[in-house]
């Protein structure tokens, strides 16, 4: 502590720490929650398609766009012109 600090007492900083954390974690919790949801969706969508069509993992893209009023879930599946159908059992 310098001599100046004795005269100009600094404002306690714990309140700032608390506020910064609250804002940051509110965002991070949503972000990690979404990334897990997306991974799950992608996995299950691949499984459903793979039941009928032979498909590669990287042919399925799942994207979540967050808007203010509405969010969109975009599922993009690349299919070859001649579909390699999984034979019925």
């Amino acid at each position: 502590m310098s001599l100046m600090d004795l005269f100009f007492k600094r404002k306690p900083s714990a309140g700032i720490a608390r506020e910064r954390l609250q804002v940051l974690l509110a965002h991070e919790r949503i972000a990690t929650g979404h990334s897990e949801l997306l991974a799950k969706l992608q996995e299950e969508i691949i499984q459903v398609i793979a039941r009928h069509i032979k498909i590669d993992r990287d042919q399925v893209h799942v994207k979540l766009d967050r808007g203010n009023d509405m969010s969109t879930l975009e599922i993009d599946v690349d299919l070859p012109t001649v579909m390699p159908v999984v034979s019925a059992r």
Binding site: S13, A14, A17, R18, L21, L24, L25, R29, G33
Partner: protein, 271 residues
């Protein structure tokens, strides 16, 4: 029934290893049969903090890979006979730790001990994930400081989604252990208070370990702080936390240092 407890935090240097040793010793001092397991492959330190660094022959990886039997790798504490250590490997690659191997070793430990306490490595990589995977109970070690609280929040999310219990749809028991707490600075608004941290992380509090010189002294001499200075503030706080983990109701107080006139006048240098 045996309980598997993981001591975790995300951030490094917050006191996971110190807390593993202290809680393990405290539970054992209260009569339970305890093993502490070091999951920090490549950077083992629990052996050093426990004062057993010269007694390591086999380690967790040897047992996981079937090169040694569990009983060969377990090191029994010289001070408390119902406390054992399973050290981590210092040299091997951390990829040597396989999920199947860890599952088998944890299963064997469950049969031998009342408490299996896993000291997690820092970070959110494979080692940390394996350390938490089989846990029934988690102790999240947090310093009242922004980066530690943020990382703890992340780890809490993982405990709720990436553990065997979570995958079975069961809830994992989570406890917050606040370490390096300075009541004076928190009261002056210079440090996040206990309530601040609890508000943000919202998991139940199991203990508050005040900042204390005894913790460093204990690790210097290679002894859990509950053995090195059992009457000190840190040890008393760890004893209380251990009793809460065992299911006892213990009032939450922050043990305070009783300062003599000299140390009041001259601060810590005289202690």
């Amino acid at each position: 029934m045996a309980k598997v407890l993981v001591v975790t935090s995300g951030k490094g240097g917050v006191g996971k290893t110190t807390s593993t040793a202290a809680l393990g010793a405290a539970l054992a001092q209260n009569g339970a049969n305890v093993v502490v397991v070091d999951f920090d492959v490549g950077l083992r330190n629990l052996d050093l903090v426990m004062g057993a660094e010269r007694r390591v022959v086999y380690d967790l990886i040897n047992v996981v890979q079937g090169d040694a039997k569990l009983v060969q790798a377990l090191i029994r504490d010289k001070r408390i006979e119902n406390l054992s250590l399973l050290p981590a490997s210092q040299t091997r690659d951390k990829d040597a730790l396989t999920p199947e191997g860890v599952e088998r070793v944890i299963g064997e430990l469950r049969e031998k001990f009342d408490w299996v306490i896993c000291d997690s490595p820092a970070g959110i990589e494979k080692g940390a994930m394996l350390a938490m995977y089989h846990a029934d109970v988690a102790v999240v070690v947090t310093n009242p400081e922004v980066s530690s609280v943020r990382d703890s929040d992340r780890i809490i999310g993982m405990l709720d989604s990436k553990t065997a219990k979570a995958e079975r749809g069961e809830a994992i028991e989570k406890h917050l252990l606040i370490t390096r707490f300075d009541p004076g600075r928190a009261a002056r608004g210079e440090m996040l208070s206990i309530d601040d941290v609890l508000d943000i992380l919202s998991i139940p509090l199991v203990g508050i370990i005040p900042e204390s010189e005894e913790v460093l002294r204990a690790s210097n001499v290679g002894s859990p702080v509950t053995l090195a200075s059992p009457d000190g503030v840190a040890a008393r706080a760890y004893f209380d936390a251990a009793r809460r983990l065992a299911g006892e109701q213990v009032d939450m107080v922050v043990p305070m240092e009783r300062k003599g006139l000299m140390s009041r006048l001259f601060g810590r240098r005289v202690a």
